[in-house]
């Protein structure tokens, strides 16, 4: 572990994992935390359990095509609950506001939170506000926590893909990461690239209700689909992607090419990745596609016996290795 925290420790890749492993887990790693799931599954007594999660939002700019920090902070927490198999119920919203921030803008963020919460069928039940000196919080930071009930009429998803699984993504990837990067760096794509930020509880529910056994489900936010697959790959299982099958919107693909970004590593806020037995994959895919948030769902690969690698089959029929992304994603030269 390095002597100082760098931006890389917040980027969701290898450095971040090191931080969690070397600092947080030794200090307060409970049984639940050690699972390192999107949500913690907490046992209250012999029968009652709940799902609990939290997330901090430091996005810049606060407003970007397709969303804002308000829609993002609700979606992010709702989605962490949903992919754990929970029914998202209650949210807390903590605001850290920089002095001088426009009240109107804060009101717009609050309204966006309300709208998104309503669409996700969750209630904001508690909150907190702190104001810090000018220049200290980039305008506004938001932290949301969420509680979900585990009373859905479905089996909870597993933690990792098994050999013989199909890998399915619920929609086009990389849209959020590229939308925010374009907005932050003033790259004026016309029309602008829109973020996919949205709550996925309803779509996840549609997936669970098929009864198809879900061996793993994640919303691949920071670090993108690539990082999630790298976390999933375990000894005995290789994950094989077919690159040609990755759904990527044309404008997002073009922006990635222009900026030298790898779509597999760009953040998503409105898709999940799911592993189900190959034989039931079409059934799950049909259920996702029948839902308005999953129309572009696609099978992108499979889990095979192997050594814990993630491999992409390129459009040329060659293979390349996908490794856990490192550090912050930055556009390349020319």
């Amino acid at each position: 572990m390095e002597q100082e925290i760098t931006l890389a420790h917040g980027a969701g890749g290898e450095a971040y994992r090191e931080l969690v492993r070397d600092v947080f887990l030794p200090a307060y790693g409970s049984r639940e935390l050690r699972e390192l799931g999107d949500s913690a599954l907490c046992q209250l007594d012999e029968t009652a359990r709940l799902a609990f999660t939290t997330d901090g939002f430091v996005v810049r700019p606060l407003c970007f095509p397709g969303g804002d920090i308000g829609s993002l902070c609700v979606s992010g927490t709702v989605n962490d609950l949903a992919v754990a198999g929970a029914v998202p119920r209650f949210l807390s919203v903590s605001m850290i506001v920089e002095a001088g921030f426009s009240t109107d803008e804060l009101r717009r963020v609050a309204e966006s939170i309300a709208r998104t919460a309503e669409s996700a069928n969750v209630r904001v039940v508690t909150g907190d506000t702190k104001v810090v000196e000018r220049g200290k919080a980039d305008g506004l930071y938001v932290v949301t926590s969420g509680v979900g009930s585990l009373d859905g009429d479905w089996a909870l998803p597993g933690q990792a893909p098994m050999v013989g699984d199909a890998l399915i993504v619920s929609g086009p990837i990389a849209s959020h990461g590229m939308a925010v990067m374009a907005a932050r760096e003033n790259l004026c794509f016309q029309p602008p690239i829109e973020s996919d930020a949205r709550p996925l509880a309803s779509l996840a529910r549609a997936a669970y209700e098929t009864g198809v056994p879900v061996h793993a489900m994640r919303d691949p936010t920071r670090g993108g689909v690539g990082a999630t697959l790298c976390e999933w790959a375990a000894p005995g299982v290789d994950l094989l992607l077919r690159e040609a099958d990755l759904p990527i919107r044309l404008d997002v693909r073009a922006a990635c090419a222009l900026l030298g970004m790898e779509p597999l590593f760009a953040a998503n806020e409105g898709v999940f990745l799911v592993a189900v037995p190959q034989a039931r994959a079409d059934e799950l895919l049909a259920a996702l596609r029948a839902h308005p948030d999953g129309r572009e769902a696609a099978i992108i690969g499979r889990a095979v016996a192997g050594e814990g690698r993630v491999l992409a089959e390129t459009e040329l029929g060659t293979q390349r290795r996908i490794l856990m992304p490192r550090g912050e994603l930055l556009p390349r030269i020319c």
Partner: protein, 358 residues
């Protein structure tokens, strides 16, 4: 993409009877594309592909980075550069522009030199410095920035010029280098300089060469041309990127470059000083030269020595592969690069690390 398979087949047929051939590519985007698409898996036996010094941020010298860091930390200065430049550390250390930014320096990521002009105009109280890196591809953009700044009288912008030119470096690198038998020429650079700028490769160095685009099919096509030449004992230069590259190049860009900059000696990280391989500003633009506007004598000296064990110099000359280096993947990773080839995604070692080891 069945085209690509057909091309791979054509390449394999062309390679029948060809003497063993090592082709060097010298463009970061080629390095990246070759690795990303696993093109080495499609190469016939006897044909191998190595990466030369084509990643512009990788070859940016420590002394230039030290100056940029010093400027970035000077009160009142806003420093802009390309994204991947921000990550490049000083040799053997952790200091980088990204680190300076984390510590509070006003370092901003740009996608074009013109961003610096915009910032300078929008924030007249700041001294805005464009840290200019790259080959002939980006140098005309810096020249355009300088001309606009001069014409419009924008005084609070300046350029820390670390541009380099490809032909001079290739001459120095390949002359007397017996390990490389052919050259894949960089399409982006050639789009500016024209194919003719690479005539010296067959004529002076005696190596067959092809100018290539960046898609996997384009690279395979150029490699097929090179292979045919090698099999037939022919030494020539082919333009396999005619959609973007002409014989004489982009005359407007070249004229602009000539008006604003002139060649100078330059130090390349890992390769040392190469005569005539850099660009510096002509006298009428001296007022916009950050090296003159600021007193850089206070910039701490950097030791020019490579970290012990680092093979980047040999890798850039094509004498070793990234995986031959004892530091590769251990003491040298993209997160903590020891040598220049690991610093950018376009560097030979970083590409081998990211995509290698199937």
């Amino acid at each position: 993409m069945s085209d690509a398979r057909a091309l791979a087949g054509a390449l394999a047929r062309a390679a029948e009877g060809m003497p063993p051939t090592v082709v060097m590519e010298v463009c970061g985007t080629h390095t990246q594309s070759v690795a990303r698409y696993g093109l080495r898996q499609l190469l016939p036996p006897g044909l191998s592909l190595i990466s030369g010094p084509g990643c512009p941020v990788c070859v940016t010298d420590d002394a230039d980075i030290a100056r940029a860091l010093w400027l970035a930390r000077t009160p009142g200065v806003t420093l802009l550069s390309f994204g991947d430049m921000l990550r490049v550390p000083l040799s053997g250390g952790r200091d980088s522009l990204l680190r300076a930014k984390e510590q509070g320096a006003d370092v901003r990521l740009a996608t074009s030199p013109m961003d610096a002009l915009r910032v300078a105009q929008a924030e007249p109280s700041r001294q805005v410095v464009w840290f200019a890196v790259g080959f002939e591809t980006t140098a005309p953009l810096t020249a355009a920035l300088l001309r606009r700044a001069r014409v419009e009288g924008v005084r609070n912008v300046s350029v820390l010029c670390a541009h380099k030119t490809m032909p001079a470096a290739l001459r120095a690198l390949l002359r007397g280098n017996s390990r490389v038998q052919a050259l894949l020429c960089p399409g982006h650079v050639a789009a500016i300089t024209g194919v003719d700028a690479f005539r010296f490769v067959p004529e002076e160095l005696g190596l067959p060469a092809a100018v290539s685009g960046f898609g996997p099919e384009e690279i395979l096509l150029a490699l097929t041309d090179i292979t045919r030449m090698r099999a037939g004992g022919e030494v020539a230069l082919r333009n396999d990127y005619p959609a973007a590259v002409t014989a004489a190049g982009n005359q407007a860009a070249l004229a602009l470059l000539e008006e604003v900059m002139r060649p100078c000696d330059a130090r390349w990280r890992g390769l040392g000083s190469i005569p005539g391989s850099g660009l510096t500003l002509h006298e009428p633009y001296a007022d916009w030269d950050a090296a003159r506007r600021f007193d850089l004598s206070a910039v701490p000296e950097v030791s020019p020595e490579a970290p012990t064990g680092c093979c980047c110099a040999e890798i850039l000359r094509g004498e070793r592969a990234p995986t031959d280096c004892p530091l590769f993947g251990r003491a040298c990773t993209p997160e903590r690069p020891a040598g220049p080839c690991m610093v950018s995604a376009e560097g030979a070692c970083a590409a081998a690390y990211q995509y290698g080891g199937i």
